[in-house]
């Protein structure tokens, strides 16, 4: 549907309007950061450590400095004379974690292989690369620790000696007495699951340009960031500048998925370098660099207590997560979020979770959708399937028996979250509408008789999103400005940004509806701190939630004025004016109408005559804030830092080849509920993308290191993203349970599909292997692991 087709009696919101800027993208005319060339721009290239853990003895850059075209070569120690540690996007200390104080380049030691230790700035990237080869880094090797458990053992080599431990963060979550409830329950099970280390791996690597204007004492920063305003604040703190001296521009990004929030050392490094060499400095990371950032890599062990009727009464678990090297990106929050997202959407009498997050000599964790919440899904979905297996009940029925009923929302979980709304059993009903599940079980039984291993697995997720983190520039509120010029054209400026998901187009849909204008009359500006109001960017699925919410409020202000003016011109009450299709018309009298351009022009020019009490302007800046978050701790010391809880239920049908361990995903049925959808097609795109990320984490994607800590998966030949031939056609159904806390009924939609796909695959493969008595609990489910499980069961 084109942007101008929706006119008669229809609204843009709810329609799958195609994106407003598609033409530019398809013509290759969108300038991403690496496409920007500034006059006099020079290039930064990093010199990296070959060792995973070592003391920096010296950096000899003399030969490199003498190379033609080289402007500067700096080590961490030299940079530290110009600036201190980079600020943390989130600080672990207030939640009981260790203080993270990372310099752009390490001063005294490296803690992962590939960590930058020096930087070369040269006229061309080629010259910088050549000079970087000549930088001699002298390292004294230290013992390497890669495993989280080993890192926490007595006598383990310490990454950050000042901590006295490798434990970055630990904590507990939940309420109720697990042991007491378990003692009163019919049965108990236990189990374990391990997730592999995934990389966010957007197609566009990170890229930054800093342009220091020494005369004006102003820094202009262009780069791949999800959060321009928070980054500006962070850069100001780092550089000792006022925020007004810094202009952050976020050009379109080639995918983010959490990776391009802020807190990466190079974001700050380019600024320092530009100030030192007084030239614009560009840094573009290569693919190897991007693949060193990981997520997940978590070991879960759990116990569950349940009754013979399949009712799960209590769960206790321990999570041990491997952060790799520390990071300033706030990635540690994924362990915290994992603990809060438990026990998912199930009503338990008692839940107890313990989590520990260790640093090791792997590359750093990066924020990555769904920000640790896959842990909650995997764990609880595995529990449900194991309970089904033990009771002989159908896994679907076990879930039905344990879900929070639809009439009990808002529902306070045992970890202190207040789930806004949902109808989880409704999701199952939706799945069963498109899939004859009983027939699939019959087919499975028949296949088993033929020696074929078919498996069916459910995966359910509840995603706490719309985060509002006390003490951090991550909030569940945002500002938008909407203005209409005297020609009736509309400009929307938002504090949220778009990672390419279409939230900009969807916000235009919302605004166009409220003002009754054609979308072709609306333009939107995002990602520029000098033009846009303050905002938290795009994190935690907040683009439509707070960006769309605030734009709706601002548009409503203007609509009120337009109705007043049009009412005066058409000599009816303002309440009788309908704004639609570019016209202000009298309700039920469509022939009595004025073009909105005429109405706008009239307010600006003869407003004093028409509506003397009205300010003769058409501009509004409004904040929308989610009111259901809570920062004051409850009696258990818990806060409520999330504002929406979208959810989904997926079912996977797989066939496992017992000879090779290869898994074929034959069907993947997805039912999801993110409340009201402004643009269903964009939402579907979020989910299909999330699903494939989940399938990658379940089947292929794994960051692997050798025993010395050197990463073996540093290109797309060894770190395997799913390709089009690796995934089936998805079957998707929607359920709409509006959020009671958002003006449009929307919920977050940016993290969906990953967690429940992982859980569905894990359960489906175990279901397939059941006749062999084999079981797998380590993701990704590579053929090697599956085959090992089969051979072990046979032995």
């Amino acid at each position: 549907m084109s942007a101008t087709e929706v006119v008669d009696g229809k609204l843009y919101a709810g329609a799958s309007v195609r994106r407003h800027d598609g033409d530019r993208y398809l013509r290759g005319r969108v300038a991403y950061t690496d496409d920007i060339v500034l006059p006099g721009m020079v290039h930064a290239v990093l010199v990296r450590s070959e060792l995973a853990h070592a003391r920096i003895v010296g950096v000899d850059a003399d030969a490199a400095r003498e190379q033609p075209g080289v402007l500067a070569v700096l080590s961490g120690a030299e940079l530290a004379r110009h600036a201190g540690p980079i600020p943390n996007a989130m600080d672990p200390v207030p939640v009981g974690g260790q203080p993270i104080a990372l310099h752009c380049l390490p001063v005294d030691k490296v803690v992962y292989a590939g960590q930058p230790v020096a930087v070369v700035v040269a006229e061309t990237r080629t010259a910088a690369l050549a000079a970087a080869e000549l930088v001699a880094v002298s390292l004294e090797a230290l013992p390497v620790v890669l495993d989280a458990e080993a890192a926490l053992a007595d006598g383990a080599p310490l990454l950050y000696e000042e901590w006295g431990t490798n434990l970055l963060l630990s904590g507990t979550a939940g309420e109720g007495d697990y042991d007491a409830v378990a003692a009163a329950s019919d049965h108990r099970i236990d189990g374990a699951i391990t997730t592999g280390r995934s990389a966010p791996a957007p197609m566009e690597p990170r890229a930054y340009i800093a342009d220091w204007d020494a005369r004006e004492e102003r820094m202009t920063w262009y780069g791949t960031t999800q959060a321009p305003h928070p980054l500006r604040h962070s850069l100001a703190g780092y550089l000792g500048l006022r925020e007004r001296q810094i202009h952050v521009v976020a050009p379109p990004v080639g995918g983010s998925f959490g990776y391009k929030n802020f807190g990466h050392p190079e974001e700050y490094l380019v600024c320092l370098l530009s100030r030192l060499v007084e030239r614009p400095v560009k840094f573009v990371e290569d693919r190897m660099s991007s693949l060193r950032y990981g997520a997940k890599d978590t070991r879960m062990t759990f116990q569950a207590a349940f009754d013979a009727d399949g009712r799960v009464r209590a769960v206790s678990c321990a999570l041990l997560a491997n952060h790799g090297a520390a990071a300033a990106t706030g990635a540690f929050g994924m362990a915290f979020a994992a603990s809060l997202a438990l026990p998912s959407g199930y009503a338990l009498e008692a839940f107890h979770g313990e989590y520990r997050l260790a640093v090791t000599n792997k590359g750093p964790w990066s924020p990555m959708r769904p920000f640790g919440k896959e842990t909650a899904s995997l764990l609880m979905e595995r529990v449900m399937d194991l309970v089904a297996e033990r009771t002989g009940l159908d896994p679907a029925d076990v879930r039905r028996r344990n879900w929070i009923p639809a009439d009990r929302f808002p529902y306070a979980t045992t970890t202190g979250l207040e789930l806004d709304s949902g109808d989880y059993a409704g999701l199952l009903d939706k799945v069963l509408e498109v899939w004859d599940y009983p027939a699939a079980r019959v087919e499975q039984t028949r296949a088993r008789e033929d020696g074929r291993l078919l498996g069916i697995g459910f995966g359910f997720e509840v995603l706490p999103e719309g985060a509002d983190i006390p003490g951090a520039l991550i909030g569940a509120s945002d500002i938008s400005t909407v203005r209409m010029d005297p020609s009736g054209e509309v400009e929307v400026l938002t504090g949220v940004t778009s990672p390419g998901n279409g939230n900009d187009t969807a916000i235009m849909q919302i605004v166009a509806d409220r003002l009754g204008v054609l979308m072709s009359e609306v333009r939107i500006v995002q990602g520029d701190t000098e033009r846009c109001p303050f905002g938290f960017g795009n994190v935690s699925s907040r683009g439509i939630l707070t960006g769309g919410g605030s734009a709706a409020l601002a548009a409503d202000d203007i609509a009120v004025k337009l109705r007043r003016v049009a009412g005066a011109m058409l000599e009816v009450d303002a309440e009788r004016i309908v704004l639609h299709g570019g016209m202000a018309a009298v309700a039920d009298e469509p022939e009595r109408a004025l073009p909105l351009g005429v109405v706008a022009h009239s307010l600006y020019t003869i407003g004093g005559i028409l509506v003397p009490d009205l300010e003769p302007t058409l501009e509004s800046t409004r904040t929308f804030q989610m009111r259901n978050v809570r920062h004051h701790p409850d009696e258990h010391g818990r806060i409520m830092p999330f504002s929406t809880f979208s959810n989904g239920l997926y079912v996977a049908l797989v066939e496992v080849d017992p000879a090779t361990g290869v898994i074929e995903l034959q069907r993947h049925v997805m039912a999801h509920d993110c409340g009201v959808m402004i643009n269903p097609r964009f939402v579907a795109g979020q989910f299909t993308g999330g699903v494939v990320t989940g399938l990658g984490a379940a089947l292929d994607e794994e960051v692997v290191h050798d025993a010395d800590g050197v990463q073996r998966t540093d290109v797309f030949k060894s770190y395997l993203l799913p390709r089009a031939t690796d995934v089936p056609r998805f079957e998707m159904v929607h359920q709409v349970t509006p959020s009671p806390f958002t003006p449009l009924g929307t919920k977050g939609a940016g993290e969906g599909g990953v967690a429940c796909s992982m859980a569905a695959l894990l359960n489906a493969v175990n279901d397939a292997l059941r006749p062999l008595g084999a079981q797998v609990d380590e993701l990704p489910l590579t053929p090697e692991r599956v085959l090992d499980a089969i051979l072990e069961a046979r032995a």
Binding site: S16, R18, R19, G22, D23, Y25, L26, R27, G28, R29, V30, A31, Y32, D34, D35, Q67, P68, G69, A122, E123, T124, T126, A127, A130, A201, P202, M203, E204, P205, P252, G254, G255, F257, V284, D286, R287, P499, G500, N501, G502, R681, F682, A684, G685, F687, T688, G689, G690, V691, V692, V715, F716, K717, L721, R723, A724, T725, V727, R729, F730
Partner: protein
Amino acid sequence: MSTETTIRVELTLDGVARTAEVPSGALLVEALREDFGTTGPKLGCATGDCGACTVRRDGEIVKSCLELAAGAQGCEIVTIEGLADGDELSPVQQAFWDEQAFQCGFCLSGMVFAAEDLLRSNPRPTDDEIRWAISGNLCRCTGYEAIVEAVRTAARRMAPPAG
């Protein structure tokens, strides 16, 4: 300044005869982006795995990170910037827009050229054939579903009228 040796590369870029001095070891994608000033082809991996740098060279699609600029001497290069016919997008480009077949857009050169190439030789591809044809390219945003849909739509629109 650096002492990189350069070579003169003459080629036809999106229909225009162009000449540039290019570092002698430059990859085609580097030369196109840095010396010829085009931004349509993207550098996503530099190992030929992601396809974001795809261009058409003398009628064949190539991953321009796997080619030397020197090898493009005298060639006709078409980038995604040269696919549209004036105001009119190619049917594949149009279908990608209409079907919301991209999000961040970084993979578009690879996906669009792979689709164009497929439909030239196979105007009525099956879904499996479409998936195979685009499988040399990576996309992290869409899950490929909408891309397959777009190629199907383009095929339908490009099909000669029945009878």
